[in-house]
Symmetry: C2
Subunit: 252 residues, 2 copies
């Protein structure tokens, strides 16, 4: 486990080697041992191999080439549809059409996704997460035919590694760990924990190429802008509501 994590990097290029369906099922079966809320397992995984469907998914992920390059695209979904159907068949009235239940199902889906990723990596496979899933969720719902009470949360592309990319930096542990209670950051501490990241040649290049003053500006002005975030917030909230999870009027 140490070596696995110590050496890990996301893999965006894959060889032509396919992943046998049996291996995929075995890995997902193991991943399903992950804890879920009340052991309800309110998530689903859509494993897409079909070329035409992957082509459609490509457009949902801003044409990131991993989607068509990888043999398998896994979309991890918050899913109360199955549980609701079970309740209804058993004369039980489900009360899961609300924001808390959406969050519960989101937690389940993400914990299982991460277990799957580590299992896949331990088998010599490479994975890459796509953060775009929550941006164009509505399109993904259409392509994958997701019914009500199912919302895509994250996507992982999986395949045999066709590259050995450089490992990217991480903040030092004192940046993320707080003892007993949260210790808020002084300016000095912020300077200290971001110093290494800002000192890296590739990050300096990134700032220069984008004609920005600082690495932070590359994030705020280009990669994750306020305008985009606000647009995608609106779209995501609409999708969650459209899939059947209501928001209480009084709160917002």
């Amino acid at each position: 486990m140490e070596d696995l994590l110590y050496n890990r990097r996301s893999i965006r290029k894959y060889t032509n080697q396919d992943i046998p369906q049996e291996l995929l099922c075995d890995m997902l079966t193991l991943a399903s041992r992950t804890s879920t809320t009340g052991n309800m397992q309110v998530y689903s995984v859509v494993a897409t191999r079909d070329k035409e469907i992957k082509q459609q998914l490509l457009g949902c992920h801003f044409n990131q080439p991993m989607i068509t390059n990888a043999p398998v695209v896994l979309t991890f979904c918050a899913d109360f549809n199955r549980f609701n159907k079970w309740c209804e068949l058993r004369n039980a009235e489900p009360g899961y059409d609300n924001f808390l239940s959406f969050m519960t199902a989101t937690i389940d889906a993400l914990l299982v996704a991460q277990t799957f990723s580590l299992i896949a990596e331990s088998k010599g496979l490479g994975i890459c997460y796509l953060g775009t899933t929550t941006y164009l969720a509505e399109k993904i719902i259409d392509v994958l035919k997701l019914p009500k009470f199912v919302v895509p949360i994250t996507t992982i592309t999986v395949g045999y590694p066709g590259e050995v990319p450089a490992q990217v930096d991480r903040l030092p542990i004192e940046a993320i760990l707080h003892n007993d209670v949260y210790s808020d950051y002084t300016d000095e501490k912020i300077n200290q924990i971001y110093a290494y990241k800002e000192s890296l040649i590739e990050n300096k290049k990134f700032v220069e190429e984008n004609k920005k003053e600082s690495l932070a500006q590359v994030f705020t002005d280009i990669r994750y802008s306020k305008k985009d975030n606000e647009l995608f917030s609106k779209m995501l909230l609409n999708v969650i509501k459209k899939q059947g999870f209501k928001f209480p009027d009084e709160t917002i």
Copy 2:
């Protein structure tokens, strides 16, 4: 990895053995190799050992005894505070006071939490997730002194196992895996995938003890009721807003 997951169970009772701070730091450092959105690492981990603070957390988690029994309680938080502070110090205007950014940070926090859990289990430690974190998040914010743009998402208690509980059931893999696109469930399929769970003596006992007609009713009427979910939805949405993540008016 196979054995680890195949044999895993959540651990709710711990021995008196403490977890050395160095081991905890090493495990969290490894866990920080987990993928996060744009490598922004918008999460924090609060590791609580102090008895008095754990006593306060106990009330935030409906008095589940793992909180005071475990040597360490880890609260994984969605955290844009650190990133925002960095942006502000670097003349960059952060646009992360919105629902999408909250979800981005939630994803980061959960993926890291699950990596940490598997690392801890691989070291012979036992863990238990507490789903109550999203219920009384506001109280947790007070106890752990979480500033704006920090929201607790999940809690894990960690310690050396003081029990070997029976392993709980899981749905068969065909319940959660969909090939290419989502295949919705027929009544027959629902009956089939829930048959094993419903056949278990402990679950039948559960139905009997609660004087219900079906296992599903134990969930809908007692464990996760509509009334509770709606109350906690409202509370959680208010907390997210209070911590600084706005919801666009037009959507809801």
